[in-house]
């Protein structure tokens, strides 16, 4: 039987946390004993209904845990005994979660692009004034600010018009840095997120990971779909350097998305396509004004919620689609700095890649190095000893050759013997490189994580984890230019348009040709005539002089004010 991989590891001096699907384990860091876990809680008392926990965070002192699952509930627990302290609904699926340093505030980013903060504990019920009854286009301005960014429990810090994929607070908590799928890195004040300090622009693909290295708090390292990591002076937005990584990561990419070529746009029924294997192109469909179910803003990420087991869905729909080759997709999943002995380095992992990568920071010319674990890395975390890193890998992943189709048509993974490959690994830095610890050398936690935290999971459960969905979901595809049909039209208008299309296009074309002809004539004239003075002639080259003066057509100076 398969087991849940440990999707998240957090290590503290006294206690450590492991997340396995829907369950949390709190372990004693020294002995490895399980102090408490949600396994012992009955199903009815589980604060999260079904489905795995997607985000988990703890405060600096390991007093509280916050979790968010697919049920869109933000749950706060006591770390020591895993007692549930509160459960609040969040408006949209979350994309990031963190505590502030004082542990009194929880910050959540969501797929709609908003970032909210929540007090650690919700205020007592008597004090909360319930918001006025729900909305309809009644021109009451008092409530209108609630309507667009509705949140019963949280306060809006800021919002992007794109999915926020990752964010962090600067070490002094004066700024919050948010990054989105549309290549923006934004530095805003915290908590007054409405004031933007700077953008760090230059990424050409989505962002998915951010890090401020311990050794230099003025620097930001960003990663995403771009083949390089970028290093910024985040306060000024200036790019300080780049670290090419794609070619180094590529050999270790074990999981690749299957990107299907989309069929014709207009012909295929749009409403019919609801549940799809992770594919961001589909996410746009319900965003078209036609669909009633999802509002425009939800379109981008809405489909993710409806996504089912990608394997069966894909298999079923393969017939309809022309499928293309699996391609290597880079999604940087986590970047962290690591200072040990005299070395300062930056570690990073990528979705579906089986190695942990590292390079020296400050940047040198040396290419990134790696430690290969054979199976895709899911998470990594700094150990408390100061020279070690823990890595969690996807134990359920196997080389493709190991997949069999039985007579019944079931897809069967042939597992090696259970104890063969540890799902949690431990590496220590010594003498200028990483050494993987054998069981006997590793701390007691090692054995505990590899044995006591393994919970059975069905294939469906594993699929629900969506471990690699970002590979297909985050990259944007350039849709082909839709010409005049941009944004979709209801059927009726289409016909009308088609009839007039010929006439309109023709009209435009004629006008444009005339313009072009005219322009070319003038250009030729201008080149033939004498250059300097304003003789009758066509377009003179516009010379922009140093101080911003401008020479107009007649050769007269136009002074810049």
């Amino acid at each position: 039987m398969s087991k849940y991989p440990l999707t998240r590891l957090i290590f503290g001096r006294e206690a450590s946390i492991a997340l396995a699907g829907p369950h949390i384990f709190v372990l004693d860091s020294r002995t490895g004993n399980i102090r408490c876990s949600t396994q012992n809680i009955s199903d009815q008392s589980q604060p999260h209904s079904g489905g795995p926990i997607q985000f988990i965070a703890t405060d600096v002192d390991f007093v509280h845990i916050a979790t968010i699952a697919g049920d869109k509930k933000l749950v706060v627990w006591n770390l020591s005994d895993l007692q549930v302290l509160s459960s609040r609904e969040i408006p949209k699926r979350a994309t990031g979660l963190t505590f502030t340093r004082d542990g009194q505030t929880i910050i959540v980013s969501d797929k709609f692009g908003d970032v909210f903060y929540y007090p650690l504990h919700p205020p007592p019920v008597e004090e909360t004034v319930p918001p006025p009854a729900p909305p309809e286009p009644e021109p009451s301005t008092k409530r209108s600010s609630l309507v667009a960014h509705d949140n019963k429990h949280g306060e809006l810090i800021l919002g992007h018009t794109s999915i926020i994929t990752t964010f962090l607070l600067t070490p002094d908590e004066q700024y919050i840095i948010t990054a989105d799928r549309d290549e923006h890195i934004r530095v805003s004040w915290y908590p007054k997120g409405y004031h933007i300090e700077r953008y760090c622009l230059g990424s050409t693909k989505f962002l998915s990971a951010l890090c401020i290295p311990q050794s230099d708090h003025s620097v930001l390292i960003s990663g995403g779909g771009d083949p390089s990591l970028r290093v910024w002076d985040w306060m000024s937005g200036k790019l300080l350097g780049e670290v090419p990584i794609f070619e180094h990561v590529r050999p270790f990419l074990k999981v690749k998305p299957e990107r299907k070529v989309k069929g014709g746009e207009s012909g295929v029924g749009r409403k019919g396509r609801k549940k799809r294997g992770a594919k961001e192109g589909e996410a746009e469909k319900p965003a078209e004004p036609k669909a009633e179910g999802g509002g425009a803003g939800e379109g981008e990420g809405e489909d993710e919620e409806k996504r089912q087991n990608p394997q069966t869905e894909e298999a079923a729909e393969r017939a309809e689609q022309q499928s293309s080759e699996p391609e290597d997709v880079l999604v940087v999943s986590k970047i962290a700095s690591f200072n040990v002995e005299e070395e300062k380095m930056v570690l990073f992992s990528a979705v579906g890649a089986s190695a942990l990568f590292y390079f020296a920071y400050p940047l040198s010319d040396a290419p990134p190095r790696y430690v290969d674990f054979g199976k895709p890395v899911l998470d990594f975390a700094l150990g408390t000893e100061g020279n070690s890193i823990w890595v969690s890998v996807d134990g359920q992943w196997h080389e493709p050759a190991a997949v069999n189709i039985t007579e019944d048509g079931d897809v069967e993974m042939s597992n090696g013997p259970e104890g063969e490959v540890a799902v949690v690994r431990h590496i220590r830095w010594r003498d200028g490189q990483f050494h993987e610890s054998a069981t006997k050398d590793a701390p007691p936690l090692f054995t505990a994580l590899n044995s006591s935290c393994l919970i059975e999971a069905s294939h469906k459960d594993l699929a629900a984890l969506e471990l690699y969905s970002d590979l297909a979901f985050l990259p944007k595809s350039k849709r082909e230019e839709e010409g005049e049909e941009e944004g979709s039209d209801p059927g009726g208008e289409d016909k009308q348009k088609d009839k007039r299309l010929g006439v309109r296009a023709l009209g435009r074309q004629k006008a444009r040709m005339a313009l072009l002809r005219k322009q070319n004539e003038e250009l030729e004239e201008g080149q033939g005539a004498s250059s300097s003075t304003g003789a009758k002639g066509g377009i003179k080259k516009m010379v922009c002089l140093r101080r911003g003066f401008c020479v107009n057509m007649k050769g007269k100076f136009m002074v810049k004010v």
Binding site: T161, Q174, E484, K510
Partner: protein
């Protein structure tokens, strides 16, 4: 729509030898709504500095690659007015001669509408050059002027050149909701216009409105302290929405209507756009609300 239907369009007639005509709106009509959240195949620059501005303002920017002269970004003129959702460009065309030294840019998400404005500006620029090159006022000019042009009496009969020759105005197809910071630097703009924005009546569509608590941060970012946001709409609910959000936003303050009386731009926003004229024809009411960008907060 009905007003614009015609028989065999004049565009199909021969144009040889005639003076270049203005593009006609009816050839460029497109449905008013385009989803700003979808991934259109848009071109947008990585950053304002990497944009080819020369293509839009050849009179003000040197062509790339820069020759021996580097552009001194301190003095290089940049766009100062931005018309978000400029539609058919009525406002910009009216403002360009009023501020010939100021660069202004329209942003429009719809393909063909952008093309219309672009063609219109090109035609106007050429027209101005022609007019300048004619030493005397020919009668030919007047006759040909009214020929093709149906869209506005003023420019069809463009009989003399205007200050700036429309070199200071341009349009770009873009999604302002997503990519405004890609086009404009911090505190670059002095005016932003939101004229007759899409009201998105349904409650669940309110988040697609161009004025929202989250987007206001971006507008405040590209607008310099002292800069002005101009809004106008014929939908009262939308007016109240915009006024409320802008007032509530810490970096904007309402400009009382008395203070607006001295601003020549305000009159233009009421009358020079196609939307504005439509509202006039239908006898609708227009609500104007303008806000000043306050100084940056200090820690």
């Amino acid at each position: 729509m009905g007003k614009r239907k015609r028989q065999v369009p004049k565009a199909l007639q021969e144009e040889e030898g005639k003076i270049v005509g203005m593009p006609q709106k009816r050839h460029y009509r497109q449905r008013a709504h385009a989803n700003p959240f979808a991934d259109h195949s848009l071109d947008y620059p990585n950053s304002p500095a990497s944009m080819d501005w020369h293509a839009h303002f050849p009179a003000f920017y040197p062509p790339p690659p820069q020759s021996n002269q580097d552009i001194d970004m301190e003095v290089q003129k940049k766009v100062e007015f931005a018309d978000i959702g400029c539609g058919f460009g009525g406002l910009l065309i009216a403002l360009a001669p009023m501020f010939p030294e100021t660069l202004m840019l329209g942003m429009e998400i719809r393909v063909s509408v952008t093309q219309y404005v672009s063609d219109r500006i090109t035609a106007l620029r050429l027209r101005c050059r022609e007019l300048e090159n004619q030493s005397t006022g020919d009668t030919d000019v007047q006759e040909e002027a009214n020929e093709e042009h149906k869209d506005g009496p003023d420019e069809g009969k463009l009989t003399k050149t205007v200050p700036g020759g429309y070199q200071n105005v341009s349009v770009i197809r873009g999604n302002a909701m997503k990519f405004l910071p890609n086009f404009f630097e911090r505190a670059q703009l002095s005016k932003i216009f939101f004229l007759f924005p899409d009201p998105h009546f349904k409650a669940r569509k309110h988040k697609a409105r161009i004025i929202s608590p989250t987007l206001l941060a971006e507008y405040a970012h590209v607008l310099r302290p002292g800069g002005i946001v101009y809004t106008i709409t014929d939908v009262k609910d939308l007016h109240e929405w915009m006024a409320h959000h802008l007032s509530a936003f810490p970096l904007f303050e309402l400009i009382p209507s008395d203070d607006l009386r001295d601003d020549p731009v305000v009159e233009q926003i009421k009358t020079s756009t196609e939307e504005g004229k439509k509202v006039e024809r239908n006898g609708g009411e227009k609500w104007v609300a303008c806000f000043r960008r306050l100084d940056d907060p200090v820690r």
